[in-house]
Symmetry: C2
Subunit: 656 residues, 2 copies
C-alpha cells in the first residue's frame, strides 16, 4: 500500500514536472531560472541588481558594493565560504555582475571561490531596431514591432534579456526613418520606453530622417549649414532631452538608397554628421552615421563606401561614429570585411552586424551567426572599433525571434559586444545550456549543429564567394536569373555572379574593378592572385573558369556542385540530430524547431537545384555522379514566386 502511494506520488510529480517543462514557449528566452526557488539575502547597493538577485539567486548571501576606479560597466565578483561580493563603479556594472552570477548558477557552474574581473570591450553595445511607425519591422521575421504598443511585461523581459548580456543601448526605429519619428507624439512614446529600460542600464536612441527640418519642421531646406536648420535641430534635441535626459543620440542613414542627406544640399557626410554632433554635444549625445552608400552608376558596388568616405577621414567630430556594415556589400552569408575598417585611420568607427537573418533564411533557418562575426574580427582588430551595433531580430512573436535558435544570435551579439574574444563555441554552449537545458552528448551534438550551421548556409546558398543572388522581391530564396528590364543592374544577381561561358564571379582584381586595392597590401596581393585567394572568397574576387583546378583536385564546377550538395546534406544532419533531442526537449519548442529544420532542409534543396541548374546553363558541364542530382526543373523554379514583402517571414520555401 505504501509503495503504491509512493509510486503514485512519483508519477504525479513526474507528470507535473513534465507538464511544467512542456509549458515552454520560448518567451522566457535564456532567462529560465525559476523565481520560486530564490533564497538568498542580498545587501548593499539598492537597485535592479539587488532586485534581480533577490528574485532569482538560489545561493548564499550576496553583497553589492560600489567602488570607484573601475571602468564603466565593469565589475568584479569574489566568493568564498558561501558569501559573494560584487563590486562595480556604477549601477550598470553591479547589474552585469549580478547577471554573471546568475548565469553561472543557471549553467550549473560552481559559484564558490570566484575571482572574476570583467570589463566590456566597448562602451556602446547597441541594438538597431528597424521598426516602422505602423508596427512593421523591415527585414523582421518575428512579427510586429514590440514598441508599437509596448507591453510592460514584455518590455521588462526585453530589458532583462539585454542587460543580462551587456547590451546598453537600443535604436527604437528604422534607419529608413520616418520624419514622424521626431514628432512630439513619437517622442512621448520613446520617453515611455526609455523609462522602462533605464533601470536596466539601457539608453534609447533614434534613427532620424535627414530632411526632418523640411518634412516635419516646415522649413525650405535641410542644409546642415543653414542657421534655421541648425536651430530647428537644437530645439528638437532640447525637446528630446527634456523628455529623456539620458537620450543616447541619433543613427543616420543619409544619401543611401533614396534617403535624404547632406549631399542633396551640396554638403558632405561630414558636414551633415558634424552639425548634428554639435547639437547633441551639450547633452553628451552622439551621432552614428552609416557608411552604407552606393550609386547605380558605379562599376563595382563594393568599392563605393570606401570611395565616398575615405576622403572624409579625419573630418568628423569626435562624437560622431561611422557605422559600417561588416562587409562591403550587404550582410551576405559570406563577405570579406569592408576595407574601410582598415583604411580609415582618423575616424571613430563601429561595426554594424545584422542579427536578423535578412540573407540567411529569415526566421526559418537555423544559422548561428557568431562564427560569421568572429570571422570579421579575425580581420578587423576589435580595438580598432569604438562600438558594436546589431540589427535586431526581435518582434512580438511569443518566442521573440521567430525561430527559437535565432535567440542565440541576439545572445551572441550581446556577448561579443562585451567581449569579442569569446569563442563561438563558448557562447553557444552558454546559450544552449541556459535555453534548452541539454546535457552531455546531446549538448555536444547540438553545439556541433550550431557551430556548423553558418558554413552550411554558405554552402547551400552561396559557396565559394558567390553573393547576392537572392530573389528580386525578397532575400529569402534563390533567383540568380533575376534581371528584369528597367531594374538597376546592382539590384540584380547577374551584376554579382557574372556567369558566362568562361566561368563565374566578379573580377575585383587590379585588372578588374580594382576593389582589392582598397585592402592592405598583403591582403591585396593575397586576394589578387587566383591561386592564393582563399577559395571561400574565390568568385568574390575572381571570374573563375569552370575548369579551374581547385585545391581538392576538382574543377571549379565540380567543386561548386559538391559545395551546394554538402550544404543540403548538412541541413539533413541538423534535422536528424534535432529529432534525437525529442525526449530531452519540451514538446512545443521541439516541434517548432523541427518544423523549421524541415523547411530548411527543403530550402537547401531549392537553393542547390536553382543555382546549379541555372549556372549549368552557362557551364554546360554535367553534375558529378557522386553528388545528389537536382530534383526540380529549372523552368518551373524560374516561374515560382514567394509573395512576401520586406516585413514577413515566408511560411515555407519552394512549393511546386
Amino acid at each position: 500500500m505504501k509503495r503504491i502511494l509512493i509510486s503514485a506520488l512519483v508519477l504525479l510529480l513526474a507528470g507535473w514536472s513534465m507538464a511544467a517543462a512542456d509549458n515552454e514557449d520560448g518567451s522566457r528566452l535564456w532567462l529560465r531560472l525559476d523565481n520560486a526557488n530564490a533564497t538568498a539575502t542580498i545587501t548593499g547597493v539598492k537597485g535592479t541588481a539587488m532586485t534581480e538577485l533577490q528574485t532569482y539567486w538560489q545561493g548564499g548571501p550576496v553583497v553589492l558594493k560600489r567602488q570607484k576606479g573601475m571602468g564603466q560597466d565593469g565589475y568584479t565578483i569574489k566568493s568564498q565560504g558561501g558569501k559573494t561580493l560584487i563590486t562595480a563603479a556604477n549601477d550598470a556594472g553591479l547589474l552585469y555582475g549580478a547577471y554573471h552570477l546568475l548565469r553561472l548558477q543557471q549553467t550549473g557552474q560552481s559559484c564558490e571561490g570566484l575571482d572574476i574581473k570583467e570589463q566590456p570591450a566597448y562602451d556602446l553595445r547597441i541594438l538597431n531596431h528597424w521598426d516602422n511607425p505602423n508596427g512593421t519591422v523591415e527585414r523582421g521575421f518575428a512579427g510586429k514591432s514590440i514598441f508599437l504598443n509596448p507591453d510592460p511585461v514584455r518590455m521588462k523581459t526585453y530589458a532583462r534579456a539585454n542587460a543580462s548580456i551587456g547590451i546598453n543601448g537600443t535604436v527604437l526605429n528604422n534607419v529608413n526613418a520616418s520624419p514622424q519619428a521626431l514628432s512630439t507624439e513619437s517622442l512621448q512614446k520613446a520617453k515611455g520606453i526609455a523609462d522602462q529600460l533605464r533601470p536596466y542600464g539601457i539608453r534609447v536612441y533614434l534613427s532620424i530622417n535627414f530632411a526632418s527640418p523640411i518634412k516635419l519642421g516646415g522649413l525650405k531646406t535641410a542644409d546642415p549649414l543653414n542657421a534655421e536648420v541648425i536651430s530647428w535641430w537644437k530645439d528638437k534635441v532640447n525637446e528630446i532631452y527634456r523628455l529623456i535626459p539620458d537620450f543616447g543620440g541619433f543613427l543616420v542613414k543619409a544619401n543611401s538608397e533614396g534617403e535624404p542627406g547632406p549631399q542633396d544640399f551640396g554638403r558632405t557626410h561630414a558636414d551633415g554628421a558634424n552639425m548634428l554632433a554639435e547639437v547633441l554635444r551639450p547633452h553628451k549625445g552622439i551621432v552614428m552615421w552609416r557608411a552604407f552608400v552606393y550609386a547605380p552608376q558605379s562599376n563595382d558596388r563594393a568599392n563605393q563606401a570606401y570611395l565616398e568616405f575615405m576622403p572624409l577621414d579625419g573630418q568628423f567630430a569626435d562624437n560622431v561614429i561611422i557605422q559600417i556594415k561588416n562587409g562591403p556589400i550587404d550582410f551576405q552569408p559570406r563577405e570579406p570585411y569592408s576595407p574601410l575598417f582598415t583604411a580609415m585611420q582618423k575616424t571613430p568607427m563601429m561595426v554594424e552586424f545584422q542579427i536578423t537573418q535578412e540573407y540567411l533564411g529569415a526566421a526559418n533557418h537555423l544559422v548561428y551567426l557568431a562564427p560569421m562575426w568572429k570571422e570579421f574580427f579575425s580581420f578587423v582588430k576589435p580595438a580598432s572599433l569604438k562600438a558594436m551595433a546589431g540589427v535586431a531580430n526581435i518582434g512580438d512573436d511569443i518566442n521573440w525571434c521567430g525561430h527559437h535558435f535565432a535567440q542565440a544570435n541576439w545572445y551572441a551579439f550581446g556577448r561579443l559586444a562585451w567581449n569579442p574574444q569569446l569563442s563561438s563555441k563558448e557562447i553557444a554552449e552558454e546559450w544552449l545550456t541556459q535555453t534548452f537545458s541539454l546535457q552531455g552528448n546531446n549538448k555536444s551534438e547540438m553545439l556541433s549543429v550550431m557551430l556548423d550551421s553558418r558554413e552550411a548556409c554558405v554552402s547551400y546558398m552561396m559557396p565559394l564567394g558567390i553573393h547576392h543572388i537572392f530573389a528580386g522581391t525578397h532575400h529569402y530564396g534563390p533567383e540568380p536569373w533575376y534581371a528584369p528590364k528597367g531594374v538597376r543592374a546592382d539590384w540584380t544577381p547577374p551584376y554579382y555572379h557574372k556567369a558566362d561561358a568562361v566561368g563565374l564571379g566578379f573580377d575585383r582584381t587590379t585588372t578588374g574593378s580594382g576593389n582589392v586595392k582598397q585592402y592592405p597590401e598583403t591582403l591585396c596581393q593575397l586576394y589578387n592572385d587566383i591561386n592564393s585567394c582563399p577559395e571561400n572568397l574565390l568568385t568574390w574576387f575572381h571570374h573563375v573558369p569552370w575548369d579551374y583546378r581547385m585545391k581538392s583536385g576538382r574543377t571549379f564546377w565540380d567543386e561548386l556542385c559538391h559545395k551546394y550538395d554538402e550544404g543540403v546534406h548538412a541541413t539533413r544532419r541538423f534535422l536528424a540530430v534535432w529529432d534525437a533531442m525529442q525526449p530531452y526537449v519540451d514538446s512545443q519548442r521541439f516541434n517548432e524547431v523541427q518544423h523549421k529544420l524541415r523547411i530548411q532542409a527543403r530550402d537547401a534543396e531549392w537553393w542547390r537545384d536553382a543555382c546549379l541548374l541555372y549556372f549549368q546553363t552557362f557551364s554546360h558541364r554535367p553534375i558529378p555522379q557522386d553528388v545528389e542530382h537536382p530534383v526540380h526543373n529549372l523552368d518551373e523554379m524560374m516561374q515560382f514566386k514567394i509573395r512576401i514583402g520586406m516585413y514577413e517571414n515566408p511560411e515555407s520555401g519552394y512549393t511546386k
Copy 2:
C-alpha cells in the same frame, strides 16, 4: 582545301544526324528502324509481313512461306548465305516472324545462320482498354482515348507496335461499360477500328454492360435465363458479326463495384457467363468474365473472389475464361498471387495484369513492371492459364504512354504474353536497345535502373507487405490516414494497414481472417507463421509488432524506416544515372524523362515522410539516426490534396 571541305562535310553530316536524333518524341515507340534504308527483295506470301519487310528490312532476300502443321501464330526463321526463310501456318505467324527478324536487326544482332522456332505460350494475348465513350480513359495517364477519333496513322503505329510484340487482341472499351458500347453507332465505329487492325492479326473485343438488354434494348429484365434476353443478345451478337466477322468476344465486369450482373436477377456468375458464351459460340466468340468482386460487409476483401468463384468451379462453359487480377486485392505494388489461380481446377483462367500504373506512380514514375509479373509466374505456372490480359497504358499523348519508359511495360506485357519464360532483363534490354539505342555501360546502367525500379517503388510506397494506403480520391499519393465518416471501410487505408499501438498489418492467418487457408498447404503454412512468412509480405499476412525482430537484426519499425528511405535513395540514383545519359539521348526525350524522374524523387520523399510520420503516431518510436529524417510536417501533409480524377496524370506530387 580538300581537308577543309571534308571537315565541313563531316560537320554537316554530324549536324544533320544530331538534328535527326534530336527530333525524337517517342511517337515511334520501339519501332525506330528507318524506312529510308530498306533494300531487300521479299518474296513468297503476300501480306503485311511482306510489306513490313519491304519497308524496313535492310538485309538480303527473304522468302515468306506458309507451312501446315505448325501451331497457331508460331513461326520458324532460317537464314544462311544471306538468304532468310520464314515459315508459318498463318499470316499472323509470318508477321510475327518478320518482326522477330526486324528486331534482331534493330538490336544489332547477327541475322546469319538463324535457326529459330517460336510458338506463343497463349493463343490469346490481349490488351484491355479502359476507354470511355467520351474519350476519357479510366486510370489512363497518357491523354484521351486513341479510339475516340481514330487517326489512321496512329492506328497503324498502334497495330504495328502490338503485332511486333505478339499482341493479337484488344478490348476497345472500359470494363465499367456503357450500354451504349453496343449501340449500332458504336459498333460501326468498332468495325472501322477492326478493319484497321485486322491486317496486323489483331481482333477486337468489347466490354459489355450486363444490363444492356434493359438499358439499350428496352427489355424489363436482363435475367440471363430469360428467353427474351437471350434472344436480344443473339440479335446483338449477329449484328456485331455482320460488321466484324472475326470479332473476338466479350469482356464482362459483373456484380462488382456497382456494375450490374446476373446476381441482380438471382442467377450466378456461371449462369450469366454461360448464356453469353452460348450466344457467341456459333461465331467462335469467347467470354472473358472478371473475378474482381468484393462486398463491403466482408471481414477481408482478399478472401472474396475465392469465396464467390470457387463454388462455381467446373460450371463454366468451355468458351468462358475467368479473368483474374494477379493479386487478391487490386494491382498493388506488391501482392501475393490471387489464391484462385491455384484453387480452381476445372475452369479456364486468364490473368489480368495492369500495365497502366494506377497504383505505381501513374505516368510520372519510372517503374518497369516485368519483375512484378515474373514474380506472379514464380507462383502460378504459366501453363495453368489460358490467356493473358493487360490493362493498357495507352492514350493519345504523342509518346503514347505519358512516360517514355512506360512504353517498356506495354512492350514487356506483349513479350511475356508470348513467352512468360523470358527474363525481365532480356525484355528490358531488347526494349532499351530498340527504343533508346544505348550501348555498353550506358545500357547496363539504365538496365539496372529499370530492373531495380519496381522494388524501389515498393520500398518508397508500401514496403514489407503494406498495401492500399493510397489517397482517397486518387491512387497516386499517400493517405494512410484517409478514413472519412460514411466511406465504406474497405475503401480506406486503415482497413488494410490496421496500425495501432501494437504494430502494423492485416492478420490473415488462420487465427485472423483465415485468408492463408485459400493457398495450397505448403504456402499456407509458410505464410501463416510470422517467422517463415517472407518479409516482403509480412504485413500482408500479419499484424507485426513494432519491435518484432527482422532478419536484418533491426526491429520492424526500424526496418520500415530503412525500407522507405532506401526507396527514396533509389529514385535519386535513377535520376543521377539518367542525367549521365544526356550526351547519348535525343534532347526531347532526355528532358521529358529527366523531369519525370525528378518528380519521382520528390514523390518518393512525399511517400516516405507521410507514411513514416503517420505510422510514427502509432509506433511512438524514433526514426533511426542512419536514415534520412522526414523533411515535411505531417499536419501539413494531411491537409494537402491533389485535385485529379481517375482520368488524369498529376502534374507533380506533393507541393507544399
